[in-house]
């Protein structure tokens, strides 16, 4: 799919050999005019330097002009030097683009605990500024990859009256990625005009229902970042909170983030299958969410799915371990449409289900029979390759 960029955003990428050779590992996203901005970041107590810097900037600023991104090094657990490096990079971007330093945001992803090779990063910024506008969003999606096996970008167009707006996003994979790598990053760009409060609320709500319901290995990164920029070049009347247009807009943002979540799950390290866990009949929304995430994070469930084993006992045991409200005898489990457990007991369909599981997408549906709440989580199977990728010594 060709990715349509929103109006007024320019891109450039380059290779700074931060960790990888022979590929691009730095990207610059620039809005032609001030864009309203909001961000959601990792809740890990250990936050990477770029996350700390962005959070500080977004506390005081509602607009921004540029996002500078690198892969190969997370600039996490790097102390004061890490913060200083992030500041220096933003400052250099501002100088090269002739914009204010506070209008530059920064994201990093890669190795933890190693300082950025500033001697290679700094000259690359000059190059990125010079090339501005000569690359595409697909190039950006490629440059920010670490162990991702494919670039991730998606867009939606929405009509608000006579005006068409575009919401486009790029992301890189979740799952704390390869040897010492961290981070999922996502940048959402739109040419719509959106009031800051509305932008912030839409992002927060959508992230909670998409990226926060996505798990590869249950390990939370120090760098997770989702940022949205709205530059208003579509010339619509600014979208305000709780308006009809807000609902249309936030639905589109949801769809974009939902698509990216699926892609990230499918591209989980070593994964062979995209897995969708749907829990319904929960006593509360929280119960549904807790149950779905617990099943998605169970090593035994994930390995069984990899082996096409319709092992509902592991699913029920995982839910039982959470302490949420349900009775074993009310539970129903189906996998790719085949009911494998009913009233907490086998339906003797395991072999049928095993056949139905020989696909690269698996839908696990669990009805707890304890209420009316539901939730859905994306994840992937767990394979020998995940172990191999993550056991390799950092080189």
């Amino acid at each position: 799919m060709k990715i349509k960029p929103p109006r007024g955003f320019l891109f450039s990428v380059t290779g700074a050999e931060i960790k990888y050779r022979g590929r691009n590992d730095m990207a610059l996203i620039v809005s032609e005019k001030d864009a309203t901005v909001s961000g959601v970041f990792t809740t890990n107590r250990v936050k990477a330097a770029p996350v700390l810097l962005d959070k500080e900037r977004l506390r005081y600023n509602k607009t921004a002009r540029a996002i500078i991104v690198n892969s190969g090094n997370a600039n996490a657990c790097t102390g004061k030097k890490g913060i200083e490096d992030a500041r220096v990079i933003c400052s250099e971007v501002a100088r090269a683009l002739s914009i204010r330093e506070k209008d530059v945001l920064i994201s990093s992803t890669g190795v933890i605990g190693t300082p950025l090779p500033m001697e290679r990063v700094m000259p690359a910024i000059e190059e990125l500024a010079r090339k501005m506008g000569t690359n595409t969003l697909e190039d950006v999606a490629n440059a920010i990859m670490t162990t991702d096996t494919f670039p991730k970008a998606v867009y939606r167009e929405i009509r608000l009256g006579k005006i068409t707006g575009t919401i486009t996003a790029v992301a890189k994979g979740a799952g704390m990625i390869a040897p010492n790598m961290a981070t999922m990053l996502c940048f959402i760009l739109t040419d719509l005009s959106v009031e800051h409060r509305a932008l912030k609320e839409a992002l927060k709500t959508v992230v909670e229902r998409t990226f926060n319901l996505l798990t590869v290995d249950g390990d939370m990164s120090t760098n997770d970042t989702v940022m949205i920029m709205a530059n208003g070049l579509a010339s619509n009347r600014a979208i305000t909170l709780n308006s009809r247009n807000y609902r249309i807009f936030s639905k589109a943002v949801f769809e974009v983030c939902d698509s990216l979540s699926r892609m990230i799950a499918r591209d989980g390290e070593g994964a062979t299958k995209l897995v969708i866990i749907k829990v319904k009949g929960a006593h509360s929304y929280r119960d549904a969410r807790v149950a779905a995430l617990k099943v998605a994070n169970s090593l035994l469930v994930k390995t069984a799915l990899y082996g096409n084993d319709a092992n509902w006992g592991r699913i029920i045991a995982a839910i039982g371990a959470t302490g949420i409200r349900f009775s074993e005898q009310d539970i129903r489990v189906s996998i790719n449409g085949i009911t494998v457990a009913k009233r907490g007991r086998t339906t003797h369909n395991d072999h049928l289900a095993s056949e139905a599981m020989k696909k690269d997408e698996i839908l696990v549906e669990i009805d707890l029979g304890a209420g009316r709440f539901s939730e859905r989580v994306y994840t992937c199977d767990l394979t020998e390759k995940y172990i191999t990728i993550n056991a390799e010594y950092r080189t």
Copy 2:
């Protein structure tokens, strides 16, 4: 090590082909006289039939005579039929031994969701009763194994005045074990006389500090059971709560359970290394425990340990994800004696530590620098073999 059984306990084992062929999969433990008994069971909301039955019996009885155990089938998620089967087995054991049915306890471990093959189990009980006393505790340790690669038994002798008592225990592995298997089981037998309240308190306290600080894959089983029987044949004055002898006794029970915990961690599915996570300098005891368990359960930490990668960034990130109190710049991490991070930053010793990790035992020490509390957790590394074992279809 030759395992010394306590006085007055008899053992027998047999093969009932419940799942495995050509090996023993049923065991019977009998005390010659009424033994004071206590048990600690899984807190999983989904409890196997034998767990439900034992819990019911131990609510009303403070003594027991026999424990009947099978491997190969967990009798979990088997509904009313499962409970009925467990009752019938206990009843048959009582009949064959001429004891009261309520004095028989039962444990099962193995496949979830499949009813027990009663047609093979029932004749085996007759055999077990006939052979009573002809087998050893090592035979029991072997018969209760599932994917364990070695039997687990240990004993301690303690002197109380002129009297010597023996505390002996057998266990089978934790980690929700192989294709659809569940459960860690542990039976502690002693010839000491211990008042029921003291026995219960000692068991509860020890389990909390040993088996509850042991993790292989973070999946909680439906069958976890630890039971202790004290038959008093050592003829000591009954040990009472909070007495001096209680402290000696509970220390010995701790040592026995601690040894078994180490063995179970070392024998985690596919594991190549026993891993000991020590957290100190925590703001509270709960913080120390939460941090140690989180690190022990992190897939990224476990795969790094497997790869001899002194990846302290993953350790710090895992702790950061818990939300406990600490500052990144106060943290210190050492692995097998090599300090790899100090004040939250690299000491550039990663390669040295990597060399020191080429052993089958790894000690990770984390000083949070946030207080004076500490805790220790046993776990193992995570390897491709864990995946292979658990992805195989149940056959």
